[in-house]
Subunit: 167 residues, 4 copies
């Protein structure tokens, strides 16, 4: 039968990273992941995207569109856009957290503006903090192509939790 493709990939046990998370602040944690000292999350391997940079209040990921990201109509599925946007927005929030705090995403509001195909070439997704309160944070992410053209954007509302609240 024609037209069959195959892909193999590897990832690492994500619990190694999860166990470190509570002991360091969010920026240090993300930096350790970027340097490869902590395994990155399996979803990055599954969808083949990577963390390009992190700073206080921002995080950037990049992805090279491939056929295995495709929906039925020959372009990248909206869920792949959403995964990048959610990752960039969430990590932007994480870089603002002290040790002992963590966040959970309450939702993602994504707008899909332009079609992405393998011909689009590498795309870049940058997340930035818009508002950082004590209990909640709002971040925005923008997905752009190599020429800086906006392909999609999203806002993400996160809930911030602290160890003390759990007692």
């Amino acid at each position: 039968m024609t037209g069959i493709r195959e892909r193999s990939y590897q990832w690492r046990d994500p619990l190694a990273s999860a166990s470190v998370a509570p002991t360091v602040d969010g920026l240090s944690y993300m930096q350790a992941m970027m340097r490869g000292e902590l395994p990155h999350p399996p979803i990055l391997d599954t969808l083949d995207f990577e963390l390009e940079s992190v700073d206080v209040g921002s995080a950037v990921f990049r992805l090279r569109p491939a056929e295995f990201h495709y929906n039925p109509i020959g372009s990248v599925h909206g869920g792949v856009y959403a995964t990048l946007l959610d990752s960039a927005a969430g990590c932007a929030v994480q870089t603002t957290l002290p040790a002992g705090a963590w966040y959970t995403s309450m939702g993602l509001n994504a707008k899909f503006l332009r079609r992405i195909t393998v011909d689009t070439g590498e795309v870049r997704c940058e997340g930035r903090i818009v508002h950082r309160g004590g209990r909640t944070a709002l971040a925005r992410a923008e997905l752009t192509d190599g020429a800086g053209k906006l392909l999609a954007e999203a806002t993400s509302s996160c809930l911030i939790m602290r160890a003390a609240e759990e007692r």
Copy 2:
């Protein structure tokens, strides 16, 4: 080095399905895909989820959570939720389209309500049409666990296009 995992999977050339799409109505197209007469989109293989059923105005997908869906904190990444929600909502819209019409998702507004792990077991995502106008459609999708507990939900706004408009 410990903790390395590997996965291999296959998918089929998505253009075979894409070329059939304009010639049949949306429901027939989705039904042919469900019966395996048309290849399903690669993203289903990449994230390992499947189409369970389609009907006029609705579509249901299911997924068994696995470690390769994980974010850094040991649970399924929000992007996987979004992929299921976007697929279910979009396909619900597609089942209402006549031959020669197609849709594009303008955005997804997803709310993440509960954590999903491998212990959650198989999850089910059902999309339903809320409003079907001439130029736009609104669909809602709900992601539930085996006990029917709501894990996430979303609305998706779609733009409907017709071949005649392209001339």
Copy 3:
């Protein structure tokens, strides 16, 4: 000069209601407001809508569209839709709160499906709880005309707070 219209309306000091709120549970508070024992909020008078019913997890408002609700293109402004949707969703959350707890709306995601004019006649907006967690709640509201046709819908994410957390 022709075409000038004028309207006068009254409202009551909202602080009377605000001071009662912490001492009773949310449902009792809403019921007292519906019976007229507590002044309803000024925005109801300004936009001339009213509370029709409340129950555990739901609240219904109604409004008769008028020219003073209009945008520049001769129909009801989206902000009026949003006010009804936000009120119904928020009050649905409030009916689930014990005494000493309160909520704040983090956001509203509204979809406008059909135009409303004075010819539409009275519209009805029903809010319902979708998910009620310890720290957050999600509610949905639907705006319908007299024939039950869906005019707009929204989801609202709320943060729940308790007196103890403020100490």
Copy 4:
């Protein structure tokens, strides 16, 4: 009975503006409204806010918070935020339209970040185009206080229509 307040206000027949709309481009129309040559929409009078400036791809409104904007808990109702955000985003889209084209808002995704009271003083809401396609447009609006602090923000998805399509 104590604590009763009253307000009277005027507005002008909105159909005068609506009839002019199709004959001029969106920017000229908004500018004529700002100069008072065309009546502004009644909702501006009802909620007492005004247009401060317009330019290609942007529009700014301002409002002085008052008790008649209040919800039951002694602050400005989310619907008032939404009205400002929807107006600013929608008008930003309108300024990009040629004569004979118009838009309709498909939805508003608003995030409420900070409480507004009469003590907040005048607030400012600026809308800007994010993406302008042939059939759709995406705009963002930000609501800020006098010190530039972000109080709320929103994105609005609009559908663009042209006279030719109606034939």
